[in-house]
Structure formats: structure tokens, C-alpha cells
């Protein structure tokens, strides 16, 4: 918030609210709620259970210290070595005990009597404060009256945001390839995605402008979209990451065409250095200094937001644990108020156990400690990505080239083909040669590698069968014990499957090193067999 004295307040964007959002009334009970706050008031009104009856005395947890993971990308700190620790190795993990008592011992302490009572829909005050400090320091919104609001995870947050902004039947803008849960939440209202083509930095700003400028309401059957949904960092599924300049361009187009940006950014802190193969010395570690590291990350859309037209979605799912179901919005106060109403009549507050534990964890670590934790996480994911690609390179013959056109222009493309095995003639016999099986661009953020499969090289390939081949290969992999994300799941529209290409989204976030090795071995065998003989049983 360094420059807040120069910053403007958000502009009036209330015309973007959907009819549903406008129709949401403040509950009359909440109106009466204000009366409770009058000093000395006796209440026989509410139905809050007496906290004496909560059967909880305390909740405590063992939490890792914030510098548990090294920041210099050492593969030895991977999950596999963690398993070794589990089986009685001497290297014990360092943890802090955190405790949340039922009643506070000092005023301002996080306590269960408050966290487990009604009325925490806007968040425990200690959590709200932490989040607000964090957003101000890390994302640095470009206008003065931004606010934050807790929510129960980004899927819920997006489903609230889309219904707060879009009326049934409207279109919203997204990347050509996108996260299917985002499509699922709006689809029953006929609120449908319109894809914008992508390049190495995700959504293209020139294509976005073109789409908006040439929008033909009659031909499209819906008015020009006024909402843009994007996953700008470690995009799901393609793994692409958008830099500052592109974000600024897209923001400016959105100002010009009066579009609200919903920035779904779960992978923000999983930004990493470019991949470099083992024989090239491996990828670079990030700065050892966490302050410098966080300042080096691609800025959030909210940094460029001088009008308040960005609704940013953050989640603790990737940085703490998915089961926390806790996250927060950063947006202008008018939208925040309507989003709060939408939550009030459905999920209400995120769970009090999670709110209090995570608050206690974050306030124990403090802001610098949390940043250090995130820094360690990003190094972990970088090690996982590197291990995964290194292992792929052992399984296949890997060739690199510079992309010259299309979505991968300017990127280093990795192309995998069969590894010559045994006598040199073996693969020539099957006329495979160096015909590539698949190619990909190593991601610089997130959890996913987006594999483009060259189905035209499958023996007996006929145009128009790609989707069948994709599902066929997917099924073979599943039968052999490896699950990947089928590309068609992520298509923003059904007719996007391009000639001779299929896709798989593979994640390097969850499997252990041993599991990755095993899975890649199976993957290699199945892919080689499939390209040779797709119809074998």
C-alpha cells in the first residue's frame, strides 16, 4: 500500500451486478443484529447456543516451522525423503505446537467460544487483519478502498462471483482451455464460456480485443460479455503463466470495454524458474532471500487495477491444504457486500475449526514466516516439476526446439519420441522413426504439464478420430494403473479439438518420486504400444 496516498477510490461498477445479486435482500434478522451492539442491551432475541455447552475444551495442532522446506531446490527434500523420516529416521521434523483455547486468556486471542459461535461469516477478526496486511503488502492493489472477504474455497468463490455478475444466458470470457469446475458452476443457468486463444503467456490481449470489438450480439445470441474469468498463473490446464505486460494490456482492454476480471489465482505462489535439463545443470534456484523472491513474482491483476474491476480469488487449498476449504476475495467494497450476501444465505462462514487453526498458524508464523513458507513450497514444486521432466527424458528420446508459431511461439518445446532400444533397426522396423509421440512446454508455475499428443503419428491414423484416440489411450493408461486428465475435459467448447492433436493434463503435485517413476514407466510402455498398434487389446 506504499502509494496509497496517490490512489483513487474504486469507480462505480454496480451496473455489473446481476438481477439475482440485486434481488438479494439483507435478512431482516441481520438488520436487527445491529441493535445487539447497543451498549447495555439485554437480548432474548438470538438463538445462539451458550458456549458453555460447546463440548470442546481446546483444539491444538502440530504445525511445521515456516522454514521447513529449503528454498534452494534440493531434490533431497522431496516427499520421498519425508517418508523416510516417517519410518523412524533420526531427522525429525521441527514443529510448533499451536493451541486454541475455548476462552481467551488475553483479549484478542483466537478462541473457540468465538470461532465456533454464529456470526463469523466475515471471518475472525485476527484472520481478516492478517489477510488484509498480506494483500496490501504482496499484491498491492492499485486503488485505495479495496477490501477482502473470506470464502470457502475458490470453486465456491467463483460460483458466487459468476452469479453475482451474470444473468442467465450471458456469455463470459475465458481461455480456450480452462478449468472444468469453473464451467460446471455456471452451466445450469446457461451462462456459457467464450474462449480466447492463448500463447505462451496464456490469454492473448489482441485476440481479446478482437473478440470484444467484433462481438455480434445477434449472431452470438447473447450480449457482449462483461466478465472475464482467468487463471493467469500456472494456468489450468495448460500451465502457462502471464507476465506483467500482458496483464496490463488485458486490464486496459477490460477498461475500454467495461469488463470485470475474475482472477482465479490458486497457483500464484507456485511460480518457479524455467526448467533446465539435468545435463545442462538443472534449473536455477530462486533468490535465497524470501523478500526478493516474493517481489520477483509476476504481479497480480489487482496491482494494475486502478478502478476496482478485478475480483481476485485466493485459496489456502494449495498453500495449506485443500480440505481447509478456506480462501478470500480481494475486490471493491460494493462487490464484496453483494458477495457476502450471497454467502450469508448459503455456506455462511467457513468452518470455525479451520478459521481458528489457520489463523493461529499464520499469526504464529507471522507475515514474514508465511512468505518464507510459500517460498519453500515453490522450491518443492520446482523440484517436483524437474524430477518429473527428467524422468520423462529418461523414458523417451527428448528433443528441444524453439516454437515458431501458434500458442508456443518463442517457447522451448520438448518433443518426445521412442528411444532407440536394442539394435538400431528395431524402431525403424515399425516405421516410427523419430516421429514424435507428444510435446510440451515445461511450465513455470503451478502443478500441471500439458501434453500435446501427436495422434497423426499413430499407425493407421485417420483424420477425425482424435477424440476417440484420446479417450482410447486414456482408457489404456487407466487400465494399466495411471490416471491423467483427459484434454477434452478442459475444452471451453466442444469443437475445439484440433486436427491430429489430443491433450493430457498431467500433474506433478501429488505423486511421490517413486510413484512418478513407476507411472512414467507405465506411460512410456503404453504410449509406445499404442502408437504401434492402437487397436490391440
Amino acid at each position: 500500500m506504499a502509494s496509497s496516498e496517490k490512489q483513487q477510490k474504486s469507480v462505480d461498477l454496480s451496473h455489473h451486478l446481476s438481477e439475482l445479486a440485486r434481488a438479494r435482500a439483507t435478512s431482516p434478522l441481520k438488520g436487527i443484529g445491529r441493535l445487539f451492539e447497543r451498549p447495555g442491551m439485554i437480548s432474548l432475541a438470538g438463538g445462539m447456543p451458550n458456549p458453555d455447552y460447546f463440548p470442546f475444551a481446546a483444539i491444538s495442532g502440530d504445525a511445521l516451522v515456516s522454514d521447513s522446506f529449503a528454498v534452494n531446490n534440493q531434490p533431497s527434500e522431496s516427499s520421498l525423503s519425508w517418508l523416510w523420516k516417517l519410518f523412524g529416521s533420526s531427522r525429525k521434523e521441527k514443529t510448533n505446537a499451536i493451541t486454541i483455547p475455548k476462552y481467551p486468556t488475553r483479549p484478542g486471542d483466537v478462541n473457540l467460544a468465538t470461532a465456533l459461535q454464529y456470526g463469523t461469516a466475515t471471518g475472525l477478526s485476527q484472520l481478516t487483519k492478517f489477510i488484509s496486511d498480506f494483500v496490501g503488502k504482496v499484491y498491492q492493489p492499485g486503488y485505495s478502498d479495496w477490501t477482502t472477504l473470506i470464502q470457502t474455497g475458490n470453486t465456491d468463490a467463483w460460483s458466487r462471483a459468476v452469479l453475482t455478475l451474470c444473468n442467465p444466458g450471458e456469455a463470459f470470457i475465458t481461455e480456450d482451455w480452462t478449468y472444468p469446475s469453473a464451467l460446471a458452476s455456471s452451466q445450469p443457468w446457461g451462462i456459457h464460456p467464450v474462449g480466447v486463444s492463448m500463447d505462451s503467456e496464456g490469454m492473448r490481449s489482441d485476440e481479446l480485443r478482437k473478440l470484444l470489438a467484433e462481438w455480434d450480439e445477434a449472431a452470438r445470441g447473447s450480449k457482449r460479455p462483461h466478465v472475464l474469468y482467468t487463471v493467469p498463473i500456472g494456468q489450468n490446464p495448460t500451465g502457462m503463466t502471464m507476465g506483467a505486460a500482458r496483464k496490463k494490456e488485458i486490464y486496459d482492454v477490460c477498461v475500454e470495454y467495461d469488463v470485470i476480471i475474475v482472477e482465479d489465482d490458486p497457483y500464484y505462489f507456485l511460480q518457479m524458474a524455467p526448467y533446465a535439463a539435468k545435463f545442462e545443470g538443472g534449473s536455477q534456484p530462486s533468490s535465497a532471500d524470501s523478500e526478493k523472491w516474493i517481489a520477483s513474482l509476476s504481479p497480480s491483476f489487482v496491482r494494475f487495477d486502478y478502478q476496482g474491476r478485478v475480483i481476485r480469488l485466493d485459496t489456502f487449498s494449495k498453500t495449506i491444504a485443500p480440505g481447509s476449504r478456506l480462501g478470500f476475495f480481494t475486490c471493491n467494497p460494493v462487490f464484496a457486500e453483494r458477495l457476502e450476501r450471497a454467502g450469508e444465505t448459503s455456506t455462511q462462514a467457513p468452518c470455525g475449526f479451520g478459521q481458528s487453526l489457520i489463523t493461529q498458524l499464520l499469526t504464529t508464523w507471522q507475515l514474514d514466516g508465511y512468505v518464507r513458507w510459500l517460498h519453500g513450497l515453490s522450491a518443492q514444486y520446482q523440484a517436483r516439476r524437474d524430477f518429473f521432466i527428467d524422468t520423462l527424458a529418461e523414458e523417451f528420446h527428448m528433443r528441444t526446439s524453439l516454437g515458431t508459431m501458434g500458442a508456443w511461439r518463442g517457447c522451448t518445446i520438448y518433443t518426445a519420441s521412442a528411444k532407440p532400444r536394442g539394435p538400431m533397426g528395431m524402431w525403424e522396423k515399425y516405421a516410427l522413426g523419430e516421429q514424435p509421440f507428444f510435446s510440451f512446454v515445461p511450465p513455470t508455475a503451478g502443478m500441471f504439464i500439458w501434453l500435446k499428443i501427436n495422434f497423426e503419428n499413430v499407425r493407421g491414423f485417420q483424420a477425425g478420430t482424435e477424440e476417440t484416440l484420446e479417450s482410447k489411450l486414456w482408457m489404456k493408461l487407466a487400465m494399466a494403473g495411471v490416471l491423467v486428465g483427459p484434454g477434452t475435459y478442459f475444452a471451453s467448447k466442444a469443437d475445439m479439438v484440433s486436427a491430429a492433436e489430443g491433450h493430457f493434463r498431467v500433474s506433478f503435485s501429488f505423486a511421490t518420486d517413486a510413484e512418478m517413476k513407476k507411472a512414467i514407466g507405465i506411460f512410456g510402455k503404453i504410449v509406445r504400444d499404442f502408437f504401434e498398434n492402437p487397436d490391440s487389446e
Binding site: 435478512s27 431482516p28 434478522l29 436487527i32 441493535l35 442491551m41 437480548s43 432474548l44 432475541a45 438470538g46 445462539m48 447456543p49 451458550n50 458456549p51 458453555d52 455447552y53 463440548p55 470442546f56 475444551a57 483444539i59 495442532g61 502440530d62 511445521l64 516427499s79 473457540l112 465456533l116 459461535q117 454464529y118 470457502t152 470453486t155 460460483s159 472444468p180 460446471a184 458452476s185 452451466q187 494449495k318 495449506i320 491444504a321 485443500p322 480440505g323 476449504r325 444465505t345 448459503s346 455456506t347 455462511q348 468452518c351 487453526l357 513450497l377 518443492q380 517436483r384 494403473g481 495411471v482 490416471l483 486428465g485 475435459y489 498431467v506 500433474s507 501429488f510 505423486a511 507405465i522
Partner: protein, 504 residues
Amino acid sequence: MTFILSDEVSQVDLSHHLSSEARMRRPNPMKAIWKLTRRKPNMVSLANGDPHFSLYPIRRIEYEMASVEEADPVAAWRQAGPSAASTKLVSSTYEPCALPLQTGLQYSHGAGLPDAQRVVTELTKFYHSPLDHMCTLALGNSDGIAKCFRLLGEPGDHFLADEFSFSSITNVPLSQGIKWASVKMDDGGIIPEDLEKVLTNWNPERGRRPHVLYIVPCGQNPTGSTLSVERRRQIYEISQRFDLMIIEDDPYYYLQYAPLSAPTTDFSTPFVPSLLSMDVDGRVLRVDSFSKIMAPGMRLGWITSSALFHEHLVTYTDGSTHHPHGFGQMLITELLSGPNGWQIEGFDRWVRSLRAEYHRRRALFLSLFEREVASTGFAHAAVPEAGMFVWIRVALEKHPRYRADLRHVPGANRQGPRTNGAALMDELFERCLDAGLVIMPASIFALPEEDKFADTEDPVQDRMNYLRATFAGTEEAMEQGLAILGQTLREFFASADPPKQLEL
């Protein structure tokens, strides 16, 4: 993995009750993969973006909870303070437990984690023994009800409910385009004959006949009324005849009390059978919650429904809220099935002990009410058989400015209210506030209904002479609050002249 409560399968197809929104929902494809990963033991999944559990900063969570070893655990818990006997439930990455932390904090699918789903299924079976139903976890009671509304409601539909209902719930579907049609109630709750009358005399100009009944059968909010078994049977029978779906919202089920004359609610006092337990067709969606019996901030509840509605609830959950948080799921799994947990038997002891505790609070409230308020002769409290609320009738007919002839004065609206009760109650509410008491007026619970179709024979405005009070608060609040109420009523009933600010 699914858990069916019984092998008997109902035969009635109720799929026509689904909203078009629900029919249009497609299952979230990522969740289909998630299910596959659970099917084969040696599957390696590279499909989902789940962080590896070694990257969670939390390794172990310990919930220190009341012990239920005592005969009357709630009383013991309250009285002993910090020295009360407790039990420690642990969910951990490296210790044996019912639901390990690394599973509890992962993504799962909309019905909840299989272990957590299993324990609520067993709990439901223990209390209701329903035929052929399944449980879906929800993020608390309001989330569960909101999901049921979305599952069944078509814009323009009317849902049926008590004419006085909890407005935080009845507001929920309004933005979805749902309207309400009210059914009259008496001390025993919703009147089955009136329900039948509303359905029989339905005016098609309002839209299609209602197909959803929203009901709070125990300790109804705000009236505190509880439906007798006989009324429940009648309501179920009417629902079958008129093809209604019933949303049974029952947060106060465990707080059912013996008559006031009994010294306590004995542990053996039975619970009134739920509508779910009578449901042979699969037309009941029952919503349960831990809010009132454990703590509201847990934000964990569950919906019990037929398999058809379960499937649709799961699909909706996967595309909106996702499954409930892991913390609560780990807790209930440890609590109801873990090595140090209460188990269902201990849970039952806790809730029966809790209702004995609330029985004492009810008795205290009503004796204070007798002394401070009923003694004025201007108000009367109905004795609630369940829940936390007392519905207080104010004897407005004794007020010097009470009028029952509003329709007969020259130029009056012949369809309007007969009495000035609503205005007098507003005045009483203001006077209470001025005296330092917040108490809920009936008017804020009146079901929002379109004026055009309101009951002109017997308008609800003439039945607004009630207040809702709670005995869930502290004893001091009850004592002081009821004293203020008694004093305010005395002054109010002595005021022959209207207060200045309310003059018309």
C-alpha cells in the same frame, strides 16, 4: 462407495420434482476421475491438482472434548469448568486414527469423505431407521437447505411453509424466483387441515400448485411448536396425495423435552418419530446439523434423501461449494468411530444430557416469565416441547387503544386487517428497545407473500401479537430481560394516548 441405509427400495419415481437447473447440471468431470482413483488400490494418479500431504504444514490436530463417561455429561462439563474430564481425539499423519489427517485434508467429492459419510449414515440409522436413504454432507444447516431449494425450485414456483417461519431461511430462495404460500398454525405447529385447504383451493393464476413443503417439526423457529406424531402422519399422507416433497429441517430434534410438570427430561424420554422415519416414497429431504448440539461454527451438517436426490446434491456440491472442510469431517469421524471417540452411544448420552440441561433452562425461563410477565395479565407464554424458543402471546385486546373494527370505519379497506394489532406491536417493540431489551416481534417472521393472493378472510396482520424469546442465553439475560418486558408491558397497556412519533 455408497452407503445405503436399508435394502428395501422404494418404488415411487419422484424425478419430476427436480428443477430444470438440477437436470441441466452435469457431473463435474474431475470428480469422476477422483472416484476412479479410489477404485483401484495401486493406481497412480497424475490427474488431479492435489498437493502432496507432506506439503501440508499441519501434521496433527487434537480436539480436546468433553468426556461422556459421566452419567450426566453436560452438567458435569459445565460445572467442573477447566478441570472437567475430557477426552482427546487425534487426527494425525503419523498416529493410528479413524480418519488420518492426510486423507481428511485432501480434496474429496461432494458427498463428503467416505468415512465421514459413513458415520452420519450410522447416526441417522440409529435415530430414524429410514428406508432406502443416503446421506450427503453439507456445510451446515443453511447450506443444506439452500441446496434442497435449488434442487427442487423452478423460478415462479411457490413453496409451502408455516405462516411464521425463520426469515433467514425463507429469504434464501427469493432471489431464485421462488415465492411462498403460507399455511396456518396453532400451538401444535402447522395445521394439516389448512395445508390440505391451501392445496385444494389453489388458484392456478398464482402458478403451478406447490410441490414443496418446508417444515421445522421440532421446536419450530419462531413459535417453538412441535408437531405430534398424529400431525406428522397426516402431513405425510397429504404429501403423498398432493405429491409434495418435504424438506424436514430439524436442528432441534435432540432438544425435545418432557412436559413442564416433570422435574427433568429423563434420559428415557423418547424422541418423536421424524418425517424421514415415515418416508416410504423417498419424498423427504431431511436436514440435520451439529450447530445446536455441538457448536454452530463447525459449519457441518448433512442431508438425508433418496438416492436420486443424493446424486443431484453431490453434483451440485461439486460445482459450487465443494465438499465440507476436512477439519469437521475428521472430528465427527473420530468422535463417532475413533478409538477415543464418544461413539454413537456416547453421543446419545451427550444429547440426552444436553436436553435435560435445556429442560432446566426452560423451567427457569417459564418461572421467571410467570413472575415477571404473566403476572401482569398482558401476556401468555406457550410451553415449548422442543428447541430454544418461547412464543409469547400479547393480549392486545386488553389494550386501551386496541381496535378490531378497522374494516367498518368509513373509507376503510374491506380486505385489509381488522385490527390495529400490527401497529401496536411495532410500538411495543420500540418501547422494549428504549427500555434496553431486544426481543423478536412476530412481524419479521411473517412469511413474505404476494398481497394479491393473501388471505383476506383472515389476514396475517391480525395475528402479529406475538414475540419470540429464547432461553438459550445466560440466566442473567433471562432474569433482567423478562423484568424489563413485564415493566414495559405494564406501561404500554397503561398508555391510553399514542406516543408522539407513532401518531398518524
